[in-house]
Amino acid sequence: MSGERKAGGAKRELVASEAMVHLDHLYRVAFFLAKNDSDAEDLVQETFARALGANEQFEPATNMKAWLTRILRNFFFDHYHQKQRWVSAEELSQPQSDYWEGLAAENPGPERTILTRELDDQITAVLKKIPEEFRTPIVLVDVSDFSYEEAAVILSCPIGTVRSRLSRGRKLMQKYLRAYVVGGQDKLK
């Protein structure tokens, strides 16, 4: 019995340590889903707690990144999604998140140019603006480098749906980015 508990504890520690490797990835997904730093951090922390609570379901040598992302996305859908529907207008008036302040400090010096920052701000603002059903496939495929098949498993939908939502989502993004270039940041509000 104690041997089983010890083995379970060891596996738990192993899963926790391996999960930490995917922290940046999970934070990116959480940030673009929740659209603010604070909720993103809560979302990631809760994902870790849930993943560790269900660590016996994880099979070693399988895709931990996809497994964690699915837990995160399901948790977001269950607990944050409803709330988000009512606050999107408020968030769109703040296209620049506190997150970039921290990033500027992390990468001081010439590497972080003004142009790069502006591009990051535009992409972030536009991603926040498009509906969640289009945003999530873009975050999974473009930001997180998942294949259509992996994204379909995470989203529990057919591969064709991933493809069509990506197509429509990117067109929406291009439309808003053009508005950004033509009319400046106010166009996004």
């Binding site: 520690e13 930490m20 922290l23 934070y27 990631v44 591009l119 972030t124 930001v143 259509y148 993004m173």
Partner: protein, 270 residues
């Protein structure tokens, strides 16, 4: 294939998710249709920009700390310890008092005799050096010549290793002095940086990751495949990492996430 049919195929081509047949068909259409070719190039550029924006985004250091200290996530050992203690602790109040007294005596006796002799991890000793420096109690000779600092410190350890030197000019800091400290028989090379950006001490010595304090928060950088240990005391933050046999500790009063980012940026994989 017409333009309307081509739209979703363009998306799949951008993501390299088309099979050979679909790809050939779309390529043939784009050879004839400059509008669809342009749409493909635009979508490819957008994907690249989205990916690069994501790559520049990192989880805040504080989130790592929150996760590492979340007992639901990294608590198994602590919980096991508590269960062990509960099993050991006697039910009778008389035996409990006797056992508590015995434990207290056992703890206090060695502490009394050894309190002045217990050594501490070099990491904490480094922070104390910074504290001395902050109070102006650390003697050092200023020099504007950084090569002289490197030469002097390297000679102090008979050339066995060199002090780690960083270009911190982007942070408005430059090396102003080098000091050699000896802790537990080990020579520690301390390079002092100062400027408008504040002060930073860089410690270099032969050691291992065990030189980090036990309560340091450990971060793994998956890109560099290196561990970083963050710890603080009295408003001074420090980050330790290893490059081969050499340990480097950066200590400063700047925010921990900035110091950690600096260590991650400047470190080299061993």
């Amino acid at each position: 294939m017409n333009c309307e049919e081509a739209q979703e195929s363009i998306t799949a081509l951008v993501d390299q998710e088309l099979d050979q047949g679909e790809r050939s068909s779309l390529e043939a259409h784009m050879d004839e249709c400059s509008g669809c070719r342009l749409a493909f190039e635009d979508e490819l550029a957008l994907k690249r920009n989205i990916r690069q924006t994501g790559e520049r985004m990192h989880a805040p250091a504080l989130l790592r700390s929150r996760i590492l200290s979340d007992r639901r996530i990294f608590s198994e050992k602590r919980r096991s310890a508590r269960q062990w203690l509960e099993n050991l602790w006697p039910a009778s109040p008389v035996y409990r008092s006797a056992l508590a007294l015995a434990v207290l005596v056992l703890l206090l006796l060695p502490t009394y005799y050894l309190s002045n002799r217990v050594s501490q991890p070099v990491g904490l000793a480094a922070i104390e050096t910074y504290d001395s420096f902050r109070r102006g109690e650390l003697p050092f000779d200023r020099t504007a010549n950084s090569d002289e600092i490197v030469t002097r410190l390297t000679q102090a350890v008979d050339g066995r290793f060199q002090p780690m030197g960083y270009d911190l000019s982007a942070m408005n800091m430059r090396p102003v002095a080098g000091v050699v400290r000896e802790i537990d028989g080990r020579k520690i090379l301390v390079a002092i940086y100062q400027g408008k950006g504040g002060s930073l001490l860089c410690y270099t010595f032969l050691g291992s990751e065990a030189d980090a304090p036990a309560n340091a928060a450990k971060f793994f950088d998956p890109d560099k495949k290196m561990n970083f240990y963050a710890f603080s005391r009295a408003g001074i933050n420090a980050v330790l990492h290893r490059e081969g046999d050499v340990i480097c500790i950066l200590a400063a009063e700047m925010p921990m996430h900035e110091l950690l980012a600096l260590a991650r940026e400047k470190s080299r994989r061993s």
